[in-house]
Symmetry: C2
Subunit: 310 residues, 2 copies
């Protein structure tokens, strides 16, 4: 992994929940100065402490990240964005709430500051329309947990703004993927949603239990897709003739398979099956323990990637 | 990874293409004796040579696999299955063809031999109904490339046969996932198919290019699903309340997202977009080079898993 160390820049973090903490850890470890604000005073007060874990994980992943920027907690949004070059907004998924924040940010931040939303479910159009200066807004959706997962999905209306945002996130060691037009769920959550629908269907139809579906994914497609994309996978599946051969010869059978995929509803019965199946799959491990295991596995995979690419 | 070294058992490989070669390499490296047969004499004659690459990869992954069984090429199916304990069938995906092979296998193999089909697209019911002794048949679908990918998806009608088959494949270092009932595409290819449909839709709708969709998958959901399953992922997505909380609070928004997923057809226009997008994504790398890269990445990921689990 390339982690170019740009000179520190002033970053404002709006919203100090999990995503805000993750962004802050990443920025600080890369030597940027971070000012953070949240409307909830308790959330602000615990923020510095909640950065410790993510900071350790970021450094475990890339020991060269020895620099640390300065962290400040601001008492108001206006004080937070003063002098910022990047404003990363991590507020709840509400259009009116976010639009209200953008109006205040525009009034208080330098006119050159980039305004970036971490939104997972709203689009640039929903957020930007009616905004005073919509070209300054980008959607920059990280994948949870953002300080470990490399992906940032980016949409900007202007090529200049897009390129500037891309450079900023690549400077944070992120893998930036660009959308040509806004879409609900961007790319990754659309793909995840489509896969989960069939994963729910397999459980609802009684084909396999929750734990077995998850194991099939981890040891099969998940592992493959951590190495090679789905389109490229079908290119290799076509043998010497590649994707063209695949589409010509196996396209019709894929279309038939698509027709057999399920469209389950999340009925009370299906929700019970999923809940009981997940409980069985946890084997008594609680959520913090499951998160620790996930993070350890992610860090091991990412270290292997870094070792391979360097 | 646990790689229990069972004492060598006689394995018959029916069909000497890529999948047959992969199974043979895995069995030999684990100390089993392999007899292989293919109706095509040229395919038989090149078989031993085509095992070299997979054998090297299997040993790169697990240097403790120093044992090697004996490889023999049989001139007839009947000679191939004589004395076999496991018969692994890797014939083309045709029900009449496979049924014809099973009849010959049953006539020539020991009555105790397990008959396993590597079929990716046919079900146990389609293959087993009308067979003389259907309880001996299991579907045991490996994920490509099978000597690297851990997953084997298993269905058997009898619990005893299922457990015996599971033990055999686990002895080959495989991660065995059990289906409760047969399904077209088993689990993994159903999930892959569902995800690819949306990946095609994203390209067809102009949301993002092929290369960007693949990168989003590799650095986002693919990486995550190599560490944690999709159901468990939503359990963690529900915070302290887990999957029950997620379903109660975010279930309705998932159902709304499902409704926005695409149902593209593989029209000539869409096929052109996919083909051109894949060509651009290859950056001039040919298929053998792309396969080498994929295998290197898989081996690095699997080594990281082994190091973590041991």
């Amino acid at each position: 992994m390339q982690t170019p160390h740009a000179p520190g820049i002033p970053v404002a973090i709006i919203g100090c929940g999990l995503i805000g903490a993750s962004w802050a850890a990443l920025c600080l470890a890369h030597g940027h100065d971070v000012t953070a604000w949240d409307p909830d005073a308790e959330v602000r007060d615990s923020f510095a402490q909640r950065l410790t874990g993510p900071m350790e994980q970021v450094r475990a992943l890339d020991p060269s990240l020895t620099g640390t920027g300065t962290l400040r907690i601001a008492g108001t949004l206006e004080a937070c964005v003063e002098g910022a070059e990047l404003v990363q907004e991590n507020a709840p998924e509400s259009v009116p709430l976010k639009r209200g924040l953008y109006a205040r940010i525009i009034a208080a931040a330098p006119s050159s500051a980039l305004i970036a939303s971490s939104t997972s479910s709203l689009t640039w159009e929903e957020l930007g329309i009616g905004m005073a200066d919509p070209e300054r807004l980008v959607t920059a959706h990280p994948f949870n947990p953002p300080h470990l997962m490399p992906l940032v999905e980016l949409f900007a209306a202007s090529v200049q703004v897009r390129d500037r945002a891309r450079q900023l996130y690549e400077g944070l060691g992120r893998e930036v993927v660009v959308l040509n037009k806004p879409a609900t769920g961007h790319i990754a959550n659309r793909l995840a949603s489509a896969l989960w629908r069939e994963a729910v269907n397999i459980v609802a139809e009684g084909i396999a239990d929750v734990a077995e579906v998850d194991r099939a994914l981890i040891h099969g497609p998940g592992l493959r897709w951590s190495a090679i994309g789905v389109h490229m996978g079908y290119h290799l599946g076509g043998g010497a003739g590649g994707i063209r051969h695949y589409l010509d010869h196996l396209g019709p059978s894929q279309e038939r398979r698509w027709a057999t995929l399920g469209t389950p509803g999340l009925t009370p019965e299906v929700c019970d099956l999923l809940t009981k199946g997940v409980e069985a799959a946890t084997g008594g491990r609680d959520i913090p323990e499951l998160e620790r295991e996930r993070d350890e596995k992610l860090i091991a995979s990412l270290k292997a990637r870094n070792a391979r690419d360097n």
